[in-house]
């Protein structure tokens, strides 16, 4: 679906430190992920799970340490370039109440210059066919989450950063997410997931204190 970026061979994080509002959130965080790997980030509230994801996305500047993405033999250390690899499922859904789910996905397809023809299929896959043409303000929290999930698939980025992806999803939504995640990993993608909920997937774990 859409223009595929090259898969990431190696995501190398070394001695990462994060400052928020002058306060040290975490430091000396290091890990390496290869294509097909998934990392689950755990830790109490305020331990910096979301900050770590924002750092990996290139949205935040690290206080110390490096994040480097290797793809097709070249190393990319530039923060702004990392953004092009990131598929983001954030704490907020980024759904406009005035737009319908179909319009929302059409907008992101145009923004990312991906094919818009699969949108009906995608809406069906996440179970939003019936709600596709009603403004998103009438969607439930779980339905908005499903729409955000559809957008994640639509953007087809190699590095998925998921912040509490299971929040407000029902049982079928959760298994849908797992199914998408397995497909993504099988295709050589990487995922870093901040979550409190147990995820039924073989994953490395990183515990932030």
């Amino acid at each position: 679906m859409g223009a595929h970026l090259p898969q990431i061979d190696l995501l190398d994080v070394t001695d990462l430190a994060c400052l928020r509002g002058g306060r040290s959130v975490f430091r000396s965080v290091s890990f390496r992920l290869c294509g097909g790997d998934v990392l689950i980030v755990e830790g109490p509230n305020g331990s910096g799970k979301t900050s770590l994801l924002r750092l990996l996305a290139g949205l935040l500047v690290p206080a110390a340490g490096t994040i480097s993405i290797s793809t097709e033999g070249t190393q990319i250390a530039d923060r702004e370039e990392h953004r092009a690899f990131t598929g983001w499922l954030g704490h907020h859904d980024g759904v406009k109440p005035q737009l319908t789910p179909r319009e929302t996905l059409q907008f992101f397809a145009q923004l990312h210059r991906t094919a818009a023809k699969d949108i009906s299929l995608l809406l069906e896959a996440v179970g939003l066919t019936g709600a596709a043409d009603f403004p998103c303000q009438y969607l439930s929290a779980g339905q908005k989450r499903r729409l955000a999930l559809a957008r994640l698939i639509l953007c087809s980025r190699p590095l998925w950063l998921l912040d509490e992806p299971l929040a407000s999803l029902d049982a079928s939504g959760k298994s849908l997410l797992l199914e998408f995640l397995r497909d993504h990993l099988a295709a050589g993608g990487i995922a870093v997931i901040a979550t409190h909920d147990p995820l039924d997937i073989g994953a490395a774990r990183l515990h932030l204190a």
Binding site: A57, L60, G90, H92, Q110, H112, R151
Partner: protein, 221 residues
């Protein structure tokens, strides 16, 4: 459709849908202008004399209404993160949103201004000067306002700070814009419209870069 056009189209759509800012700004503009004769009386010659200034001040204030949510709405609901991760640069995001703001406020205000000028007894031969000055000047209002909106993005109640930042910077626009209308009334040539055009071109060209720097700063905080 390019990424820039996609964001522009989305923002125009959001502003013109129910609850959007476009009709709100237009209604505010009309209300303020209609209120003026009630305040200062109906002396026709006085109204004609101040019409240009009143319309310009009302247009600037109406523009402010839609400005504080320009980036803040996207910031609060997470859309700005998604835009930042899209192929569009911050400069592109700022330029698209400023353009959409002008298309949904500055342009409609300009189009209805002759009707309101009629209420203020502005002589018909000054209409061209009025419409031309609004057409040339309102892009500068959107551009400078866009910079301030990007700066106040992460501030709670930033909408209250925004007018304090924007209004002093827009003083030249009001002086030259209203000056161009007065010059036409007095039958003189004072070059106000050219100064307005120069100011507007500079503001529109520079604003996306300044706003982008402010967005980068606010998002990485």
């Amino acid at each position: 459709m390019s990424a820039f056009a996609a964001l522009l189209a989305r923002d125009v759509r959001l502003a013109t849908r129910a609850g959007g800012s476009a009709m709100l700004a237009l209604a505010f503009f009309a209300t303020v202008v209609t209120l003026v004769p009630f305040g200062i009386g109906s002396e026709a010659r006085l109204l004609a004399r101040i019409a240009g200034g009143v319309l310009w001040v009302a247009a600037v204030l109406a523009n402010l209404l839609a400005l504080d949510r320009l980036f803040q709405a996207d910031y609060e609901d997470g859309s700005l993160d998604l835009l930042a991760l899209s192929p569009l640069s911050f400069e592109g995001i700022a330029a698209a949103k400023i353009t959409a703001h002008w298309l949904t406020t500055g342009l409609p205000l300009t189009i209805v201004s002759p009707v309101l000028a009629l209420l203020l007894n502005l002589p018909v031969d000054a209409y061209v000067a009025l419409v031309a000055s609004l057409l040339i000047g309102t892009p500068a209002v959107s551009a400078i306002g866009g910079v301030a909106a990007a700066l106040t993005l992460s501030i709670r109640r930033g909408g209250l700070l925004l007018p304090l930042l924007v209004l002093p910077l827009l003083t030249p626009v009001v002086i030259f814009g209203a000056g161009a209308v007065l010059a036409r009334l007095d039958g003189i040539e004072n070059g106000a419209i050219w100064l307005l055009a120069a100011f507007s071109v500079a503001a529109v060209l520079l604003a996306p870069f300044v706003a982008a720097a402010a967005l980068r700063l606010n998002l990485s905080e």
